[in-house]
């Protein structure tokens, strides 16, 4: 392993490893069949180096499990942000970064020639003018430097006004401390906090899925495509079947579940003329294509569909347009009124009606009632009846219930009386 490098060139290569270690945490070397053992060893060593304090090794037959012990109740930041800070660079990159930015701190505009000369005279480092110009242009593209043309002369300058404002403003530091864990693309807030040398010691965040940060590069590209109202080509790798395919679609919105930890792209498929959702963790690459002529129209159509969308499915197994689900529950008044509140708060627009003392009916019409089952099951212990126009949903609910009674040895009260 003499050629081992701690830093990496591409994020996408490491993304799946981190996800497997973080999400599963029971895979041994033999479970990573797609990669060579050497690649596995290098990636494992990198993860141990980057995420040392969170790495747990459990010895099992056939090797050891490497997992990440991450309890969000105990953390002031997302440990997986470390993975974003591992990009490799050249010796010239790091030197030019510090020297050019340092030299331009006074805010004055200079040509690449002047900068090259002054790096030699002030910092005693000799660089090729082309290398300096390339770096200045790259930094102008990233927004670190301003680039202006006056006649044939191109000059570069630096503006620290915004950074100075951030440094002097405690409130924005508090906001960044919060958003790094609670908001979209929190990695950027985290990087800003590092530049400001501020650490979060105020906030904790529940129901934030740290693993989402691994999809941020994909999310970033999708937001850019949405901003351009563009069609995209997605390379997708199905998590279940390990199959790869490509899809052309119009990206419209990011759907996030705060419960299951999944994020989806909701897009319009021109070929089948319907909306569909793709899990972000299955999207491997994005190619932005031409602008979609009917973008606004499609977005408006999605908005019209939204009231009947329970989760991410636009069609049920039974292929009816809409399914109706009615659940009647028992909640003792007034001490269990919080259950009724739950129906209203979590029922996504479904109607809640008091039908008798201690009895409430919840009713809704959605595209796919099958998606509702996990939520319905959270009311187990109170469900007087469940009816659905999709009979398979009803059947699945009661069949699962019977399976649970059997698993936990729950006897039928009437049988007990007969005994």
């Amino acid at each position: 392993m003499s050629d081992f490098q701690e830093l990496i060139k591409s994020f996408s290569n490491i993304r799946e490893y981190v996800r497997d270690f973080f999400v599963y945490g029971f895979k041994t070397r033999n479970d990573f069949k797609e990669k060579s053992p050497r690649t596995y060893d290098n990636q494992r060593r990198r993860l141990e180096s980057w995420l040392g304090p969170y790495v747990r090794k459990d010895y099992v037959s056939g090797g050891f499990n490497l997992s990440l012990a991450i309890d969000s109740n105990l953390l002031d930041t997302n440990p997986l942000f470390q993975v974003w800070k591992t990009k490799s660079f050249t010796d010239n990159d790091i030197q030019l970064h510090f020297f050019i930015l340092d030299f331009l701190q006074d805010g004055k505009a200079r040509t690449a020639e002047e900068i090259t000369d002054r790096l030699l005279s002030d910092y005693e480092v000799l660089f090729d003018i082309q290398a300096v110009r390339r770096k200045c242009n790259a930094y102008a593209k990233e927004g670190l430097l301003n680039k202006q043309k006056s006649g044939k002369t191109v000059v570069f300058s630096l503006d620290n006004t915004l950074m100075q404002w951030l440094k002097s403003n405690e409130n924005i530091n508090n906001a960044l401390a919060f958003y790094q864990m609670a908001g979209n693309l929190g990695i950027i807030a985290n990087e800003l906090l590092e530049q400001l040398d501020v650490q979060n010691q105020i906030f904790r965040v529940k129901h934030s899925f740290f693993v989402h940060t691994l999809e941020d590069e994909i999310l970033f590209a999708l937001l850019d495509a949405m901003h351009r109202r563009a069609i995209v080509k997605l390379e997708i790798k199905s998590s279940k079947r390990e199959m790869k395919n490509t899809v052309h679609c119009v990206p419209l919105q990011i759907f996030t579940s705060t419960r299951s930890g999944r994020r989806f792209l909701c897009a319009y498929l021109g070929s089948s003329r319907r909306f569909t959702c793709f899990r972000l963790d299955t999207v491997k690459k994005i190619f932005t294509l031409e602008e979609a002529d009917d973008y606004e129209e499609l977005f408006a159509k999605l908005e019209r569909n939204r009231p009947h969308l329970w989760g991410v499915s636009f069609q049920s197994e039974e292929r009816h347009h809409l399914e109706r689900l009615t659940m009647t529950i028992w909640a003792l008044e007034p001490t269990e009124n919080y259950i009724v509140e739950r129906l209203k708060r979590e029922g996504r627009g479904g109607a809640v009606t008091r039908t008798a003392r201690n009895t409430y009916q919840y009713e809704t019409e959605v595209f796919d009632c099958n998606e509702m089952l996990p939520w319905i099951r959270t009311f187990i212990g109170r469900i007087l009846s469940l009816e659905c126009t999709a009979k398979s949903v009803e059947q699945r609910f009661y069949k699962d219930l019977q399976a649970m009674y059997q698993m936990y040895g729950i006897k039928n009260p009437t049988d007990e009386q007969n005994d």
Binding site: S49, N174, R382
Partner: protein
């Protein structure tokens, strides 16, 4: 704009700190800084580059390293960072932090910057409907006072509307503000003023707080919040058996990814998972487990198993 860029790398950060030092550094100082802020193997890459001058960022005087940069060295923001800040300005929670004049000043500095996203590009489809009232002035006022109290470890007099409808008075020192993405609500984790008692964090919903008054009293010894939370965990974790049908394994692993957990493979299709939790998390964890139906089997601890069975017994009584 690049999200994965060396500009944000750990090595650049460590070097920035080393180069900002006004004092000459020994190689031991440099070692220590890298050990504190770098990755576990960063020493092996950084030290040789500095020692042999490949990274000619320091002037060497004997055994000492002097930064070639000015002490006021500051890295400006990238377009990505500016665009991110611009997007935050449209977030309803931003008003909890920035005064209107500050938001206006920031907006002015970012006037030509497009936001990285628009609010309508995201949909949290299973978020609860009763979010905290972020626009409400009393809520904002209380939030800011609690933020100050937390930072200064100041005790606060808090008038609280309990869920049962009573007005309760508390005397607490805020230790953390906790945000729930699912509930879109802030809660206050606080400690009571009873040093002789075993400390456990009290939890208050911020939108139920009627008023806050800061006192002069501060909490003198520092508090290890994580030790307090960990002490509150049950000794016996929840023990689940997962049958890998209907993609249950992957769903469960992701669903419970926020908890401290440990998973072991029992055989080709069966996995066992330990989840650590405390009394405050118990009901939520129970309904999360129920939501998986027969795909998860609770095999311990006894208390959790009893609660689950009670719900199933009640259900069997209701529906036969």
């Amino acid at each position: 704009m690049e999200l994965f860029s060396e500009i944000y790398s750990c090595y650049y950060r460590v070097l920035r700190h080393l180069l900002s030092s006004q004092n000459p550094l020994t190689i031991k100082d440099i070692y220590n800084r890298i050990c504190q802020e770098g990755f576990e193997e960063s020493l092996l890459s950084i030290i040789p580059k500095l020692e042999d001058g490949t990274w000619n960022l320091f002037k060497k005087e004997g055994e000492l390293y002097l930064s070639k940069l000015s002490p006021s060295f500051t890295t400006p923001l990238t377009d990505l960072e500016k665009s991110y800040l611009k997007a935050l300005l449209s977030d309803p929670r931003m008003g909890l932090f920035l005064e209107p004049a500050q938001a206006e000043a920031l907006n002015h500095m970012l006037v030509h910057v497009p936001p990285l996203w628009q609010q309508e590009q995201f949909c949290y489809y299973d978020r609860f409907a009763d979010s905290d009232p972020y626009e409400d002035e009393t809520y904002r006022h209380n939030f800011r006072l609690l933020l100050d109290a937390q930072k200064n470890r100041q005790y606060a007099d808090i008038d609280y509307n309990s869920p049962k409808g009573n007005r309760v008075h508390h005397y607490y020192v805020p230790i953390r503000l906790e945000y729930s993405v699912k509930n879109d609500k802030f809660r206050l984790l606080a400690l009571e003023h009873h040093s002789h008692k075993r400390q456990k964090p009290e939890i208050l919903n911020i939108d139920r707080i009627a008023s806050v008054r800061l006192t002069d009293k501060t909490l003198s010894p520092s508090v290890d919040i994580n030790a307090i939370i960990q002490n509150s965990y049950y000794k016996e974790p929840l023990k689940l058996r997962i049958a890998n049908k209907r993609n249950a394994l992957e769903r469960a692993m992701l669903h419970f990814a926020n908890y401290e957990k440990n998973t072991v493979k029992i055989d080709e299709n069966t996995y066992e998972c330990l989840i650590y939790y405390n009394q405050n998390m118990e009901t939520e964890l129970l309904i999360e487990v129920l939501s998986f139906g027969p795909m998860l089997t609770v095999i311990g601890n006894e208390k959790f198993l009893d609660s689950l069975k009670r719900r199933l017994e009640k259900q069997r009584e209701l529906s036969g």
